[in-house]
Symmetry: C2
Subunit: 427 residues, 2 copies
């Protein structure tokens, strides 16, 4: 593995990972700003801007943008998340200059024509509608909104029909100007690349972005709570969660291991207990999401109405049991799973480019697999049980459900069951 990290004059980072045996390349520009960087009146604009980047520049119409890439067989796409926005393309290695030109063009030269804005609003309203129709999209949106009640980090990324309808050209330029700045941007490429040429090209293209620092988002404050949405569905979707650990927090890696042990694979405790022993769910897993200043530890499950009263105590019992006793063998397995996952992603240019861009945004540098594995190896079973004890009793539970919600345990019942030591907070 050879990774080259360079800072451009305006503070933008370029991270390059040549994979000499490949013929293709994965290339993208990441911006360290997403939905949580929106002001109150900007809810949904990070995502709206990501859409509008494809709607025409000073040099290309929207059709010419996608034709440029697809004419050579590539594809181009973009994604908005809570803390970042990314624009990426996959191409044959010989077409990398074209990919560089197009990616830069849509970021710096977009014109945001009024007619295009109005049309794209209609597309996003449909995207919001579709997400609302899918029960497990909806339950996660409601969950996040409840966990971080009233805060940008909790709001649905797509915005609401009302906020989306309110946006104009100036709003787009304003958000772009505030967040698309050199120190906030990372260009990442993996695959068939010539590092020197790519660097020269990057310096040439991206020098127009300002070198001034962007404002930090407002600090997040995990609150917890409950959200129940009645739907006449076959299955009831549930997410139960707690405050997790930020990327830089001491317990971040221990939380990742705990999530793997509790519900990370088919041999995990929740899968074995809930699905294999009791046959109660098709989908059951846990997850740990780190943010820059907070985190979420959660469990997702879907089950039919009559099984809800049986399912919930089984899940909560597993949370309690994790605080009492974890076997060394389970920790070793979780580490092996993470290690193999790292090696698999080393072999995929898309996974590599994404992983390196995220490491630059989070830690300011690439993190080697060895360093990551050393951190994981240093974590004892006692530290994980200790963490589990704190995670599930020292933060207010969040419960979100979509479906037949009457039999779902309320927040207070979950807190009681777990012996929670907190009293309710409010925003």
């Amino acid at each position: 593995m050879s990774v080259e990290v360079t800072k451009l004059k305006n503070g933008m980072t370029v991270v390059l990972n040549p994979m000499p045996h490949l013929e293709t390349v994965a290339l993208g520009t990441w911006i360290k700003a997403g939905s949580r960087n929106e002001d109150e009146n900007e809810h949904g604009i990070a995502h709206f801007l990501e859409h509008m980047a494809f709607k025409g520049t000073k040099k290309r119409t929207s059709r010419q943008i996608v034709e440029a890439i697809e004419d050579v067989g590539g594809d181009i796409n973009a994604a908005t998340s809570i803390e970042s926005t990314s624009y990426f393309t996959r191409l044959l290695g010989d077409d990398i200059n074209l990919g560089m030109d197009v990616l830069h063009d849509i970021l710096e030269n977009s014109t945001f024509e009024e007619a295009e804005i109005e049309r794209e609003k209609h597309v996003i309203l449909q995207e919001i509608g579709a997400a609302n129709d899918v029960p497990d999209d909806l339950v996660f949106d409601n969950f996040q909104d409840t966990a971080f009640d009233g805060q940008p980090i909790g709001r649905p990324i797509l915005g609401t029909p009302e906020t989306v309808k309110s946006f104009g050209k100036d709003d787009l330029n304003n958000y772009l100007g505030k967040h698309y700045r050199g120190p906030n941007m990372v260009l990442s490429a993996s695959g068939k690349i010539d590092c020197d040429k790519l660097l020269t090209k990057a310096e040439e293209l991206y020098s127009g972005f300002p070198s001034s620092l962007a404002d930090e988002p407002v600090a997040s404050n995990y609150i917890g709570g409950e959200s129940f949405t009645k739907r006449d569905n076959a299955e009831t979707q549930l997410v139960i969660g707690f405050e997790g650990r930020a990327y830089h927090a001491r317990d971040f890696y221990a939380s990742q291991l705990l999530s793997m042990i509790l519900g990370g694979g088919m041999s995990s405790r929740l899968f074995q207990e809930v699905r294999e022993k009791h046959g109660l769910c098709y989908s059951i897993y846990s997850f740990h999401w780190g943010f820059s200043d907070s985190g979420i530890f959660g469990v997702h499950a879907a089950t039919e109405t009559e099984d809800i009263p049986k399912l919930m105590p089984i899940i909560l019992d597993e949370l309690k049991r994790a605080a009492q006793d974890i076997d060394k063998h389970e920790v070793d397995r979780a580490r092996a799973q993470i290690r193999a996952g790292l090696m698999m992603s080393m072999e995929s240019p898309s996974s590599r480019a994404t992983q390196l861009a995220r490491q630059i945004m989070l830690f300011g540098r690439p993190v080697t697999n060895e360093e990551l594995m050393d951190r994981l190896t240093a974590i004892s079973t006692e530290r994980i049980t200790d963490l589990a004890g704190r995670l599930f009793t020292q933060s207010n539970p969040t419960i979100a459900a979509v479906g037949s919600v009457d039999k779902v345990m309320k927040q207070a019942e979950i807190a009681d069951y777990l012996g929670s030591q907190v009293t309710n907070k409010t925003a």
Copy 2:
């Protein structure tokens, strides 16, 4: 690219693609039988068997099956489709023998204990419920069922609650005995592999599967029709389709190109017209699925109620226009997209193992990228317009909708609009 194809004594094919620069391996066993190979009283058993393969063997409990793989960081999974079933694992290359042992064990030595059967029925009932709750899963199930009315190829892969509840150990052994036979099976591995060792091991492990041929499924008969399911959703899901072309049919590759041109990417006609020009949909694309003796050419769209009357004629106009005039530039782009896609999948062990297994099942041999590209290059624009003319007028339309279905055009209206030359068929 070096690919080794070997037939074992019992007729099973082993296809191996060493990728010497990798540390990991993708390994799987494919069975050329899926839901369409089920008898009337077996609806859902191919998928049920695929689940039951993980529920215990003569040598391992269900927990030991997944622990064996996950202890070394790998993962194991399986999938059932209309014409095939697959069991696959991703591992570090050094663990390949373990992967081979476990994959074989679950295929030949599963015990199908009654208690496990009953528990797994409950899991699958939940899987059926969850699929029914997701509007675009449901619309595709209904579409396929309507296109091939009353035939195994059209039935939902998961089965119905009634059929799933009816299965016992003998049913599982019966389906397995009929279809899991050497000539119907392919072992495919890509990545860090030693071909000689792997072949010896495969011959050793798989010799117990019979060499007799499996019965062919009943021939399929595309019928077409309409399926409307009212749901109180934000978006109405639509699939409009026609009879496509079988894998071996002369027009198979032309159909693939036509689908790419019509709705395969962001520069495609449907995306440009429906989303970019009119802003009517978030999701709009076309697809062409080949089966061994039939095919489906279809368009998927989702839109809000008020836009349905505007959307449907735009889609149908594009189908008509494809029969009149296609630009050489569009065909070149479609070919470039397919070519780049092939090169990207050559670099991923999972994609390669899957692609090779499918080629063995469909064509009896690996198909090189050069051969595939030669076939595509030989197709003129005239052949594609000619095909479009026949596709959309010489087979009955199928229309499936989930949502606000009142304003959706009926089958007869679609046929009229397109100037269809067929009269209704029945099963």
